[in-house]
Each structure stands twice: as structure tokens, then as C-alpha cells.
């Protein structure tokens, strides 16, 4: 359609001078002259956490977008410098509490790399089970948030109900619903009994059963397909250029998964497949995660079946009971000092590659510097890029399809 414009000099109203606007005044004035809307979405967003997106709309179409993250910044990296290595474990899993398994694992792996600790096989399996449980939990959580954004209330309730199964299993393993702080350097805090393991396997069948209903009512619901298909498309080249990570990168057709590329823990001992999409649109991004859930279910069954017997705490750790850290936690970790140097671990968290870097001065019991690069932060740029040219009504659909989690990005 041809655009008709009248060349009349339009001056922005005087009020603009005293409005508090967190973007350059020029941006607003230019939008005014071009007859565009500037819409602030957030920061008190009804979806997940807090983030402001500043949009420039031409009619209903987004022409420009400025993200305004940082509303839930907690200076986690600085806080970590004032806590001992072991005290940081509850801290570092806070960015994304549903995904605690992967966050905890990433941090502990960085410590283990520094201390060159060999982790017992059984502990590795338990860690992988925890990581996969929290991956399913996070994907379900994101699916629920996506459904809320699309106005589908049942699509919100079903994943959150099913997540309760995951949380139940996590409670049985760690003793708490989320924020397990269960993985410690050299193993896990407690052994998991056989009963619980079998229950996890039974849970996966119940999960599958319920997810089938979820699929019928939400995943293949024509309104969902209509809202997400061909919306917020990011091409393969763009995705690589903008540094998108995790399932969102795979949705664009890039075959990259840290669990396959650099297998850690028990990922190379079990049989599973990488999920790769093609179109890079919102629906593929969602479906990739849906399929990852079924892969995780498959993994959980194998892990439960193949778990070896043995200790769960490494020989290198001062622990008096190798099945349960209780009673020797302080002796083992109270005065942990890492040798001097820089240690990095890369983990495939639910939303993408998660990087922990610990810089140690070799003397103190606290890290000299802890760097956390979270997946949400990495794909924020790609998220913003995929918004351009879409409709305002699609903002929430795209937001949901990215599973963007402000507390995780802000750290």
C-alpha cells in the first residue's frame, strides 16, 4: 500500500520537555513528526518478571524497539565476591530458580575443574537427573507463560499442574521444591534411594499422559498455530550473527547443543537426540522445547535404568560418609580455596548456554571475580531483532515464544 503523507511541519507539544522518558528525546520527537506511537510496555508486566520494552509503532506495526532491562538486577556477580565458594551455591541458582539444576551444576563444575575433582559415577547420574528434571520444569513454565501471553488460560494451567509432578520429584530428591542447592563440589549432598528413582520413572509416564492432553488443547490448537506460525522469524544467519543460544538457536536450524558438543556428566552415556527446527519462527521455537521435553523424559528413563551403585561424594572431598554429606559439610567445604587461575564451565541450561567463570586469587576463600553469562541475556538481542516489522499484538506472542526471563538476564 502506498503511503500518503502531508508535508506539514509538526512540532512536538511543549509537554514533552518535562515528561520523564527513559529514551532520547529525539527518538520521541522523531516518532511524533512521523506520526508514530511510542508505546512503553512494562516494566510491571503481567507475564514474567520485569522488563520494559519501548516500541515505536507505525499504525499497528513495530518499526523500532529499545529493550530496557535491569529492573530486577541484583548485582549477583558482586554479591558473589563477598561469599565463600560454597555459600555462593544458593546464590548462583537464583537467576532462574526453576532451572536450579543446571545453574547449580554449571557453577559446581567450574569449581571441580579448578580442584580437578573426579566425580563418582552415581553422583553424575543423579546430577543429570536433576538437570533434566529442572529442564522439563523450565520448559513447562515457559509454555505456561506463552499460553498466558496468548490469552489461553488452560494452556497456562496444564503445564503448571504438570510441573507439580516435577516439583514433587525434586522435593523427594533434594528436600525442597525449587532452589535445591543439592549439587556440591565432588558429588551431591545425599544419595537418592531406589524408591524415588522408580517413582521418577513412573512419573514420566504420567507426565507423558498429561502432556498429550496439553498437546490437544494448546499445542495443536488452531489459535496457537495462527498466533505463532511465521511470527517473529529469525533466519539462521541472523541467529548466528546475533549470538542466539540454546533451543532458540536450534529452532533456527543450527545444530548446536553443548550436551552433544562437549558432553558433561552422564550425557554421553545415554542415548538421546538433538532437536533442531527449521523455520526459526515462534511456533518452531515453541515446538523445539516441547520436543526437548519428550527427549528429557526419554533421558530420565534411561538414567533411572542405568544408574550405577556406589558413592555419591568424591574421594577427594573430606567427607566421613560417602553417601551423605551431613555432618561433614563444614569440614569439606568450609574453607574451600581454589588454586590461582581462571576456570570456566559451559553448561546447556534450559534456555541455552550458560557460562560460569571463576577467577581465583589462590588465597582467599571467596572468588576474586565470578562471571555469570546467562542465556536470556545472550538472546535478548535476537529477541529484539525478531520483533521488528511485526504487529503490536504479536509482541506478547514473540515474548512468550522466546521464553525470555528477566531475572535470569538481569542476574
Amino acid at each position: 500500500m502506498e503511503e500518503i503523507s502531508i508535508e506539514v511541519p509538526v512540532e512536538p507539544p511543549k509537554e514533552y520537555e518535562w515528561y520523564f522518558i527513559p529514551v532520547p528525546k529525539k527518538f520521541v520527537e522523531e516518532a511524533y513528526r512521523k506520526d508514530e506511537f511510542v508505546v512503553f510496555v512494562g516494566p510491571q508486566h503481567p507475564g514474567s518478571g520485569h522488563m520494559r520494552i519501548i516500541l515505536r509503532l507505525k499504525g499497528d506495526f513495530i518499526t523500532d524497539v529499545i529493550p530496557d532491562p535491569g529492573y530486577v538486577h541484583r548485582s549477583m556477580e558482586k554479591l558473589a565476591e563477598y561469599k565463600t565458594y560454597i555459600q555462593n551455591i544458593p546464590l548462583v541458582e537464583r537467576p532462574s530458580i526453576m532451572d536450579f539444576g543446571n545453574y547449580n551444576l554449571g557453577y559446581v563444575r567450574a569449581i571441580e575443574e579448578a580442584l580437578e575433582i573426579e566425580v563418582p559415577e552415581r553422583a553424575k547420574y543423579i546430577r543429570t537427573i536433576l538437570a533434566e528434571l529442572s529442564r522439563i520444569g523450565t520448559h513447562l513454565y515457559d509454555a505456561g507463560i506463552l499460553a498466558v501471553f496468548l490469552g489461553h488460560t488452560t494452556g497456562f494451567m496444564y503445564p503448571f499442574a504438570v510441573r507439580e509432578f516435577i516439583v514433587e520429584m525434586i522435593t523427594r530428591i533434594t528436600g525442597t521444591r525449587i532452589t535445591g542447592s543439592f549439587i556440591v563440589p565432588g558429588g551431591v549432598r545425599r544419595d537418592v534411594d531406589n524408591d524415588t528413582l522408580q517413582k521418577i520413572k513412573r512419573m514420566t509416564y504420567a507426565l507423558e499422559n498429561r502432556l498429550k492432553k496439553f498437546e490437544k488443547i494448546f499445542i495443536t490448537n488452531p489459535t496457537t498455530i495462527a498466533r505463532l506460525k511465521d511470527v517473529g522469524v529469525l533466519s539462521k544467519e541472523e541467529a548466528i550473527k546475533l549470538g542466539v543460544v540454546g533451543p532458540f538457536l536450534r529452532a533456527c536450524g543450527v545444530e548446536y547443543d553443548v550436551r552433544k558438543v562437549e558432553p558433561y556428566e552422564a550425557y554421553d552415556e545415554i542415548d538421546w537426540e538433538m532437536v533442531v527446527g527449521e523455520d526459526g519462527d515462534g511456533y518452531t521455537r515453541f515446538l523445539v522445547r516441547v520436543n526437548e521435553v519428550s527427549q528429557s523424559i526419554n533421558m530420565l528413563r534411561q538414567l533411572v535404568d542405568n544408574i550405577p551403585e556406589g558413592d555419591v561424594i568424591s574421594e577427594d572431598i573430606v567427607a566421613f560418609d560417602r553417601k551423605d554429606i551431613r555432618g561433614s559439610f563444614f569440614e569439606a567445604y568450609g574453607d574451600l580455596v581454589l588454586p590461582k587461575g581462571e576456570y570456566t564451565s559451559i553448561t546447556e541450561a534450559s534456555r541455552g548456554s550458560l557460562l560460569f567463570t571463576i577467577v581465583s586469587d589462590g588465597e582467599s576463600t571467596t572468588p576474586y571475580r565470578l562471571r555469570i553469562v546467562t542465556p536470556s541475556w545472550l538472546y535478548l538481542k535476537g529477541f529484539m531483532e525478531s520483533l521488528k516489522g511485526e504487529r503490536l499484538a504479536d509482541l506478547q506472542a514473540i515474548y512468550g515464544s522466546w521464553g525470555y526471563f528477566p531475572p535470569e538476564a538481569d542476574r
Partner: protein, 254 residues
């Protein structure tokens, strides 16, 4: 590798999907898979290792400060009681990570299944050691305990019983330690160990004006290692109790 490629559904397919969604909703409306637990009247069965509020057994506490030292949230403060120090917990800060429980060498700090407590004000959330023992004042409306189990689908096992929220915890497996003077020559006679010992196991007496004798009573020593951490010159080190006793016997024999 799983590859995902979705085509836009055709009209007849779309109608089928509509019907599928609607029938699912109708099915659920008729026989719902409700998973709700009617909380105050029913209670979820929690595992024994549940990380709820903390319980303190003052009898077992050896005043070793381990819990206060390890606490990531600085929620534990030691309170002086009859010349000894016991932990008190500030629940405004506590994150229930239970590092303190795992650090406690004598299971004096125990977990419990209590997770639903209301405090009248912020100041009442700071609990001194006396208030940490036993169940808090509770109104329990629950008569039914619900356990989640899975059998193809979720199975909610409802039992007419009231769950005991206090958990019995065994003493953790760990050898007993005692503090011994490993390098007596390093001692600078500062007597900090004497003052810091919560059990009064280290005593000193002046032989004459210039010579001081320090003595550790292994019977009294609980191995809390406070003296070892406080000693400025690494005079004291922990020894395993059985090794010490065996050594003593062998000395007698020799």
C-alpha cells in the same frame, strides 16, 4: 536428530484440530483430572528429608559455631546462654538451604517438615535458641494426608492421618575428634583456647609465677574445634578420639 518442520494446517485439518480441542475440554469437564490438595484441611505428605524450619536440640549442641560460619545468608546468630553459645535463627534472612543442618556434627540442628508459619511482625521472626525447640504454636486443620504417586497418571493417595511434622534425625556418621596440642613449642601462652572452650575442657594453672600448665580433658572435649580455629599459632590440632585413646593405652603398656 529430531527435525521439526510444520506446515500451516489446511482448512479441513484445522477444523479437525478445533474439534479435537473442544472434545478434550468437554472430556475434562466431565471427568476432570483435578490435582488440587485442599491445603489447610488436607496436607501433602512430605519426604523425611524435607527442608522446613529448623529445630535445635540444646542438649546436643556443642557450641562449635559451624552453622553460623557456613550460613550463606548470615541468618544464624549465636546467643550467649550460661556461658555457652547457641544458634538462633533470623527467619527474615534464612533461605532454608540447610547448609547448617549438613554442617552440624551432632545433629543438634535438625530439619522439620514445618513450612507454613506466620509471624506477627518482623521482630518475631528472629528466633533465639529457646524458641527453636519443638513444634511452634499451630492450628492444624488437616485431617487427611495426601501422597502423590504415579500409576500411568497421577494417583493421589489420601489417608486419614495427621502427619508428625517433627522429624527424628540420627547422629551423622563421623569420627569423634578431640583437640590436642600437636606443637606445644609454638604456644605463646595466650590462653585464648582456655577462654574460648565452651566445655571448659582446657584448664590452666600457674605452677609458679613464671610457669603455666595447660591441660586438656579429653573426656570433656567434644571436638568442636573452636580452640583450634582460634589458636593464633597453630599449636592445637584435631586428633581422632580412638587414635588418642589407643595411643594412651599403648603408652601405658610401654
Amino acid at each position: 536428530m529430531v527435525r521439526i518442520k510444520v506446515e500451516k494446517p489446511k482448512v479441513h485439518k484445522s477444523v479437525a484440530l478445533h474439534i479435537k480441542a473442544i472434545t478434550t475440554a468437554f472430556k475434562e469437564a466431565i471427568s476432570p483430572g483435578t490435582i488440587t490438595i485442599h491445603y489447610p484441611r488436607e496436607r501433602r505428605k512430605l519426604p523425611d528429608n524435607f527442608r522446613g524450619l529448623l529445630q535445635l536440640d540444646k542438649e546436643k549442641c556443642i557450641n562449635c559455631f559451624r552453622c553460623a560460619h557456613i550460613c550463606p545468608a548470615n541468618a544464624i546468630q549465636m546467643y550467649q546462654r550460661e556461658n555457652k553459645y547457641y544458634p538462633g535463627i533470623d527467619y527474615t534472612k534464612c533461605i532454608l538451604c540447610h547448609f547448617c543442618v549438613d554442617s552440624c556434627p551432632t545433629a543438634a540442628l535438625k530439619p522439620s517438615k514445618i513450612h507454613d508459619v506466620a509471624f506477627a511482625s518482623l521482630s518475631t521472626m528472629v528466633l533465639p535458641p529457646e524458641e527453636l525447640a519443638g513444634e511452634p504454636e499451630m492450628w492444624r486443620e488437616d485431617t487427611v494426608t495426601v501422597e502423590y504417586d504415579f500409576d500411568g497418571d497421577l494417583k493421589m493417595i489420601k489417608r486419614k492421618e495427621v502427619e508428625n511434622l517433627i522429624v527424628e534425625v540420627e547422629k551423622p556418621k563421623r569420627p569423634e575428634f578431640v583437640a590436642g596440642a600437636a606443637f606445644p613449642e609454638n604456644c605463646i601462652a595466650c590462653r585464648i583456647c582456655v577462654n574460648s572452650c565452651p566445655q571448659n575442657a582446657i584448664t590452666f594453672k600457674l605452677q609458679d609465677l613464671q610457669t603455666m600448665v595447660l591441660e586438656i580433658d579429653f573426656e570433656k572435649c567434644t571436638g568442636c574445634m573452636v580452640c583450634i580455629r582460634n589458636c593464633p599459632t597453630q599449636t592445637l590440632l584435631p586428633f581422632r578420639r580412638e587414635e588418642v585413646l589407643k595411643g594412651g593405652e599403648s603408652d601405658e603398656q610401654g
